[in-house]
């Protein structure tokens, strides 16, 4: 059952990710990215990281993608030829290198030895419930958390300065 669900969501996420590259209209690419994000959040639930799944939908699919769609509609850029083709000769090199990369990655992943999984009860201590993540975030990782808020403040100020129309 979980395997079937995993395969469904994995195929959906990779297909949507490929669709980002193949679409010529940026708006359709943004919609495909939302599809990838939602499929990934289903996979997070499968990994018992419920809080991350919720954050993924609320922050990524909700906030960041709205920002993207907003900018795409604001700019209304003309459609253009999708791919950069400056060095046509490199295309023949690309295929063997891509095959090499895939073979190498799968070889490395094959080296991961499956450790015996003990049949333990998993409901008691999930990886990413709100309680456990929140406790961790506000005790051990309090300093990075506060530094993150400074980072967000800098991002807000930077975005405002960059997107503002010059007065002169």
């Amino acid at each position: 059952m979980e395997k079937a669900l995993f395969i469904i969501f994995a195929v959906v996420s990779v297909a949507a990710a490929l669709n980002i590259l193949l679409q010529r209209n940026p708006l359709y690419s943004a919609l495909s990215l939302v599809g990838t994000l939602i499929a990934l959040s289903a996979l997070y639930v499968m990994l018992r990281a419920q809080f991350i799944a919720a954050i993924q939908i609320v922050v990524y699919a909700g906030a960041i993608m709205v920002l993207f769609v907003f900018v795409i509609m604001l700019l209304n850029a003309p459609k253009e030829a999708p791919y950069i083709e400056k060095h046509k000769a490199l295309r023949f090199l690309a295929i063997p290198f891509a095959g090499l990369l895939i073979a190498e990655a799968f070889y490395v992943i094959r080296l991961v030895k499956p450790i015996q999984m003990p049949a333990s009860d998993d409901s008691a201590q999930a990886v990413g419930t709100t309680l456990s993540v929140g406790t961790k975030l506000f005790t051990d990782y309090l300093l990075p958390f506060e530094v993150t808020s400074v980072l967000i403040l800098m991002a807000i100020v930077g975005a405002m300065v960059l997107a503002r129309r010059g007065e002169d």
Binding site: M1, S13, L47, A49, V59, M117, A119, V127, V133
Partner: protein, 134 residues
């Protein structure tokens, strides 16, 4: 429908090793595929907004990796402790939250740059934005 429900209820009683069939390797492969698609997008497209989306895709692949590893460490806690490894399995979700925050900040600043650039040059194609090249 009821048979499917009965099947699901039966699955609940199974020990974990039976239920969790997609192992770490599957998640690593999926993460690798998403990462490669993201890199291909960064390298091949010329619309800067789509390049930003591909970067988000790469960050998501990393997030999936982190959460999968942390789940894996949590499941194998006893085995790893017997080998002398004590790993905090909550590190993955916490770092995932930080990555999401950084991605949000990066998207805000990056799209601000895109808007400023579009106001000056009337284009979002990266091969036409070559002011720093001389």
């Amino acid at each position: 429908m009821s048979s499917l429900l009965a099947f699901l209820l039966l699955q609940q009683d199974q020990p974990f090793i039976k239920r969790f069939e997609p192992t770490l390797v599957h998640f690593l492969m999926l993460s690798f595929l998403l990462f490669v698609v993201g890199v291909a997008g960064v390298l091949s497209r010329r619309n800067i907004i789509i390049i930003f989306m591909s970067i988000e895709l790469i960050l998501n692949a990393v997030n999936l990796n982190l959460v999968a590893f942390s789940r894996y460490f949590q499941i194998n806690q006893e085995v790893l402790r017997a080998k002398g490894l004590v790993i905090d399995s909550l590190m993955g979700p916490v770092f995932t939250i930080f990555i999401i925050v950084v991605a949000a900040a990066e998207a805000a600043v990056g799209l601000g740059i895109v808007i400023a650039m579009f106001r000056n040059r009337e284009t979002v194609a990266i091969d036409e934005i070559d002011m720093l090249k001389w």
